[in-house]
Subunit: 157 residues, 2 copies
């Protein structure tokens, strides 16, 4: 029995539909990954792709990388953009460090949005025109001035 199971594991018996079902993707997505160089072109039988089970792990790895924010192109680099003997550790380090910079920048932007929104909750202006007046200029980057915050309830005059 063990040999049979081993055979199953190695023999490319999975259709693209089978693989899609196992990983919860559409077949079109799998072909797309292949076109973009994320997945190797599998063996074909009568023109049809036949996969062995290890492709399932590969696809899960792709999805994991996606969840980490890597783009398709970045994942391609991760998988095939290094000399073949490059360790996984080095590959991850390279890509993850790059991406962490982006993610941190994103976090800052979102935090800034959040700060603006929380500030907006403090607004006591009677009308939006009150908010708008005094919002002039600010050289490219707009800042919320003291107006709109807390104590004001209308415009001065």
């Amino acid at each position: 029995m063990i040999t049979v199971i081993e055979q199953m594991r190695q023999f490319p018996h999975l259709s693209i539909g089978d693989v899609a079902a196992r990983v919860g993707l559409r077949t079109s997505a799998i072909r797309f990954y292949e076109r973009r160089g994320l997945l190797p072109t599998p063996e074909r039988i009568n023109g049809r792709r036949r996969y062995n089970t290890d492709v399932v792990g590969k696809i899960h790895l792709i999805r994991l990388a996606q969840q980490a924010g890597l783009t398709i192109e970045e994942i391609r680099v991760l998988l095939h953009g290094f000399p073949a003997d490059t360790s996984a550790a080095i590959r991850w380090n390279t890509l993850a460090n790059r991406k962490l910079d982006e993610v941190n920048a994103l976090l800052e932007r979102i935090a800034a949005m959040k700060a603006l929104l929380e500030h907006a909750l403090e607004c006591q202006c009677a009308t939006l025109d009150d908010c708008a007046s005094g919002l002039d200029s600010a050289d490219g980057e707009l800042t919320i001035q003291q107006q709109c915050a807390g104590s004001r309830t209308g415009r001065p005059a």
Copy 2:
């Protein structure tokens, strides 16, 4: 003199190009805001838009709202989607609370990405296949298992 200055402030003497220059946008953006209902259709002289200076504050308000993450449509609601006598405070509260939920969700997603990336930095796998194996299933949401983390340097067999 004072009356003259006041006249200048109220009289619609700014062309769309002037306004664009003052707020640092292209004229197309201003027309676009008008089409989308963010800005009122201004008075026309010889078919041309003439603005008075208060439009500058309005546009800055729009840009501020954008920086806070509101979409054009949401800004339209903020500006004109309430009964006319609704206070600015109430308008902001409504929109900002909605948006804060989204922003917090976004923050969580980004934090999750960051966690994945930081975990990836710990990877000691020799090959990506080592990372991939054992990554199977996980019911829709992929989690990083203990493998890839710290102690492993290759696959068991």
